[in-house]
């Protein structure tokens, strides 16, 4: 009997010891399980501020007006897709430097009229060492071309989110390059977000002065986007603009 006691007590003690294992803290969640929201890899913000087109994705990007500019075929890109990524300017006409700094009261600051010289035009992300006849942002340089190429590859392999992400990276590098905005608009379109596609194309237009070919492509994309959103009249208007640009 006494031995039983000993065994029982020591067993109890042992069990007691392991009762101190903080059971509650043992995580048994399998790391392979997705976190609560199952919207994996979704570019569409469900709670976004802007109306989202609910139309399913469509590959209408390829119906875009063929571009007459010098076109670089991106490796891996579908041959039928016209990509207006050009290393050459669409037209050699220089863009108008914004005379935003135009002084109205030139003489009132300092006796030496220093400030009347317009500020040097340095588009962000684009080197200013180009003093040729071309405005700096009319040709794509290394980083932007490389990122657009990556985005093109991602898009052709069906990774629209990756393409979108790479294009936003390109946009951060060269925020005012209309070709980046054009591609962003295209990818948004492919993602089924016609509203944002139109917006990006419109933003592109504000930077596409003096580049009629690109303007025409942007208007063409706007026409598609409007059609997709059920705005036939707006689409017709945009098509008109696309013709005028060309």
């Amino acid at each position: 009997m006494n031995k039983l006691w000993i065994a029982a007590v020591s067993a109890l003690a042992l069990l007691n010891g392991c009762a101190s294992v903080p059971q509650g803290s043992i995580p048994v969640v399998d790391s392979g399980v997705a976190v609560s929201n199952n919207e994996r890899v979704s570019a569409q913000r469900t709670a976004g501020n802007y109306p989202q087109a609910t139309a399913p994705r469509a590959a209408q990007a390829r119906t875009i007006t063929e571009d007459s500019g010098v076109v670089v075929m991106i490796p891996g890109g579908a041959a039928s897709v016209s990509t207006p990524i050009s290393t050459q300017p669409f037209t050699p006409g220089p863009i108008t430097p914004g005379p935003a700094a135009a002084p109205i009261s030139t003489g009132s600051y300092t006796p030496s009229n220093t400030y009347s010289a317009p500020a040097p035009i340095t588009p962000s992300g684009i080197p200013s060492n180009n003093s040729g006849a071309l405005a700096a942002d009319e040709q794509l340089d290394g980083p932007v071309l490389a990122l657009l190429t990556t985005a093109q590859q991602q898009q052709s392999s069906g990774d629209l989110n990756g393409a979108s992400s790479s294009l936003e990276r390109a946009q951060r590098v060269a925020p005012r390059e209309p070709q980046v905005l054009y591609r962003l608009a295209q990818v948004r379109m492919a993602q089924g977000d016609a509203a944002q596609a139109e917006q990006f194309a419109r933003r592109g237009l504000t930077f596409a002065n003096g580049r009629p070919d690109l303007q025409a492509s942007l208007w063409g994309l706007i026409a598609q986007a409007r059609e997709k959103q059920g705005d036939a009249a707006g689409a017709a208007l945009a098509r008109q603009k696309a013709k005028v640009s060309l």
Partner: protein, 774 residues
């Protein structure tokens, strides 16, 4: 208890014979065995369940933006080196492996570490960066081939922890640096590769040491037992726990091989406390103490970390550097003694300093204001458990270089203004964004930016004063047939009778009237009377509509006092509003997060760039022009005492009643910053927008060296020469003629030529403007 019972029971049964005794003993031991076996099965379940499942919960990690490198990028060498230091790059004379950098003149050679990003992996690679001025002039591989674009790994800026939690960075046993495993085994458990979980030899040794010294000096625990203790059991010291620990150690060794157990140990071990956060595992310890990935650690660092296992707080190299150094060298001696390292290696390692980063350097800073923003955004999309347990990787737009510059600007400006009466109680907030992408790059929620508390950048909702004025003037400029920048506007006194019969008589800041002025002059000098008159003409409800289109979601009543900024906004809301002005009339919801990856590097969620055109670019071009006049000759002109004249900037000062709030919001091409100064108790401050917030803003812009504002001229804008006194059309050749932008069709008819002279420099022109103050 058992001990006291046994003698008594023995005395109860004096001589019962040996046989029944033995029978009982056999039966009892059988029972005991069954109980023990059952217990072992139970323990085994625990051991396996936890070890085979997800072993640890990992708080989400928040990363800064990765620094992009490309030719033509505006980046000074100093800023680049700051970033490299924060990322824990070793400075070496010749770059040797990832995480090393060598500087010579304007060229920096480095070997990046590589990282898994949302849209793919960035490989580790050797890179040469040549700087020219404040630009990247050349980017190549060290073999000379040009590289178009390279991304550094992003700086880890924090995690999302529950109240008190363990934090760790999981590491794989294949990624450990040389010496780590050998050192660990040598110092903590020399028989590790030979025992079965418990080591009778070391227990015996420990007992010998302890009994001979009369105190608990040495534990006989194997690495396996230490792991079991930390991983499964509480910190209680008792015999039963010790037995459980031993059994579990044996069971663990039965199921798993030595490498798996060692890997778990490397990740489990406790190495220090960081406030409420417990630093676990060598992976995080390496980042925490050296700002380097574990794999890059050298012998002296490995010895320090392993030495700390014995007493994480007493050997903490930041708190007790001398003790930590002694301990490290002791470990190094042991390695030499045991033949793990050569005497030369040990001698070299001993010469090295501890090499821990100082807290408060960029790598070890905390940015509570920005992290708060990130958390709020994440809480909309994730449950708390997902954020604190799943090891998510959050990629943000945070720019540590801009953050440090904004903190420095804030600190220095306050230091400069200390003399002012009442400035001590003044609090501060600041938001820095990139107007071209809508991304938040830096955020200060308190005058003491390291202090996590009331986040004024998001939560201090205060009257914005004259910051509202661009909305008033923009509402007018959207009607080009009625208003242009050179429309005449009366600044004479006026009174407005409210619906309740009260009469409101707004006043100018200088309590004077300025007669009839151009519309843009009323804006640049922040005249209240002219603004109220204009606002009444276009209608307060329409001004509020403009405000909403600019991105302000808050609703306001259409009182006339709204025209002078009686409505209250947070600095972040002001940033949203001005972002639309800065970005050509395109509104963007402010983003702090770019994307989220799972712990395994799988893409989970993206926060895409979204824009929406809210205004015609032409009217935005005009309001930007007026806001540039604010900086050139208006209330913001002190900025050019510090910044170069050729840097085009646009902005607006704001001061609420009795100087309770001092605001400035303004932008260049690539940077937008909003600064607020004021008291938490809403008391009076010694600052106006110009003498307070603008000073911080200027100091920040000086450090950040932004690109000049340069909005492309929209198609519907024409530049017309006008006479600056009459506003009538003039000609380029006329003396004093100046150019102003107009929406096509609204420009004054061209004036007659004045004989083809060059435009005069206009010494005498517009001196009258200069005399006016705020």
């Amino acid at each position: 208890m058992t001990r006291t019972r046994s003698p008594r029971s023995r005395s109860k049964r004096p001589s019962g014979g040996l046989r029944p005794w033995l029978g009982w003993a056999i039966k009892l031991s059988l029972v005991g065995l069954v109980v023990l076996a059952g217990f072992a099965v139970y323990l085994d379940a625990i051991v396996q369940e936890k070890f085979s499942g997800k072993r640890w919960t990992i708080p989400a990690k928040v990363y800064a933006r990765p620094l992009e490198l490309f030719v033509g990028q505006k980046l000074s060498k100093n800023d680049f080196l700051t970033e490299l230091d924060a990322l824990g790059y070793r400075r070496e004379s010749v770059v040797n492996g990832p995480g090393a950098a060598a500087v010579s003149g304007n060229t920096v050679d480095l070997n990046t570490r590589g990282f898994q990003f949302y849209e793919g992996a960035e490989q580790a690679q050797p890179v040469r960066v040549r700087f020219s001025g404040d630009y990247v002039a050349e980017l190549s591989s060290t073999n000379g081939s040009k590289l178009p674009v390279v991304r550094l790994e992003p700086l880890l800026i924090g995690g999302l922890y529950p109240k008190n939690l363990e934090d760790r960075i999981l590491i794989n046993i294949d990624q450990v640096p040389p010496f780590l495993l050998e050192t660990l085994v040598t110092v903590e458990d020399r028989d590790f590769y030979h025992h079965f979980g418990v080591s009778p030899k070391s227990i015996a040794r420990a007992m010998w040491v302890n009994t001979s010294s009369g105190q608990m000096r040495q534990g006989g625990s194997t690495l396996t037992q230490q792991l079991v203790k930390n991983f499964y059991l509480t910190n209680e010291r008792s015999l039963s726990r010790k037995l459980t620990e031993a059994m579990m150690a044996l069971l663990l060794e039965m199921h798993y091989d030595k490498r798996e157990i060692l890997e778990a140990y490397l990740n489990e071990v406790f190495v220090g406390q960081d406030g409420q956060r417990a630093v676990h595992g060598f992976g995080l310890a390496s980042q925490f103490f050296f700002s380097q990935p574990l794999a890059e650690l050298k012998l002296h660092q490995v010895a320090l970390l392993v030495g700390m296992v014995k007493g994480p707080s007493s050997y903490n190299p930041r708190r007790n550097p001398e003790r930590a150094l002694v301990r490290r060298n002791l470990v190094l001696d042991l390695l030499e003694q045991q033949g793990v390292a050569t005497p030369e290696q040990v001698a070299a390692a001993k010469k090295m300093p501890l090499g821990v980063t100082t807290r408060g350097s960029l790598a070890d800073s905390s940015f509570p204001g920005f992290l708060d923003l990130v958390k709020r955004q994440l809480r909309e999309d994730y449950r708390d458990e997902d954020l604190t347990e799943e090891g998510l990787r959050i990629f943000t737009s945070f720019d540590p270089i801009l953050q440090m510059k904004s903190e420095a600007a804030m600190g220095e400006t306050f230091k400069r203004l200390t003399g002012r009466k009442g400035s001590d109680e003044v609090e501060a907030a600041m938001v820095v964004t990139n107007p071209e992408t809508g991304e938040v790059q830096a955020l200060i929620g308190s005058r003491a930016p390291r202090f996590a508390g009331f986040n004024r950048a998001l939560d201090a909702v205060r009257p914005i004063g004259s910051l509202i004025k661009p909305a008033v003037y923009l509402t007018a400029l959207e009607r080009p047939s009625q208003y242009t920048l050179t429309s005449w506007l009366s600044d004479d006194p006026l009174s407005i009778k409210g619906a309740d019969g009260q009469v409101w008589k707004p006043q100018n800041y200088d309590r004077r009237s300025h007669g009839t002025v151009f519309l843009y002059q009323s804006m640049m000098n922040s005249y209240n009377l002219g603004t109220v008159r204009l606002g009444q003409e276009v209608g307060v409800p329409n001004v509020l509509k403009t405000l909403a289109r600019l991105g302000v979601e808050r609703q306001f009543p259409a009182f006339p006092s709204m025209l002078l900024g009686a409505g209250a906004l947070s600095p972040m809301e002001v940033a949203t509003m001005y972002q639309t002005l800065a970005n050509g009339g395109f509104n963007t919801p402010m983003r702090g997060i770019r994307s989220v990856l799972t712990a395994e590097g799988e893409p989970l969620k993206r926060y895409p760039f979204q824009i929406q055109q809210r205004f015609d670019p032409g009217s935005i071009f005009l309001i930007q022009n007026a806001m540039q006049h604010v900086m050139r000759e208006g209330t913001g002109r002190s900025v050019y005492n510090v910044l170069p004249r050729n840097l085009a900037l646009a902005g607006k000062t704001g001061t609420s009643n009795d100087s309770r709030d001092s605001w400035f919001a303004g932008f260049s091409q690539d940077l937008l910053a909003v600064v607020w100064l004021g008291r938490d108790d809403n008391g009076k401050t010694p600052f106006t927008g110009a003498t307070g917030a603008l000073q911080v803003w200027t100091s920040f812009m000086k450090k950040a060296d932004p690109l000049p504002l340069d909005m492309p001229q929209p198609d519907n804008i024409v530049q017309a020469w006008i006479d600056p006194h009459t506003g009538q059309g003039s000609d380029a050749g006329c003396p004093g003629a100046v150019q102003m932008p107009y929406i096509r069709g609204s420009e004054p008819p061209a004036g007659a030529s004045c004989g083809g002279q060059e435009p005069a420099s206009g010494e005498a022109v517009m001196d009258w403007v200069k005399g006016w103050l705020n």
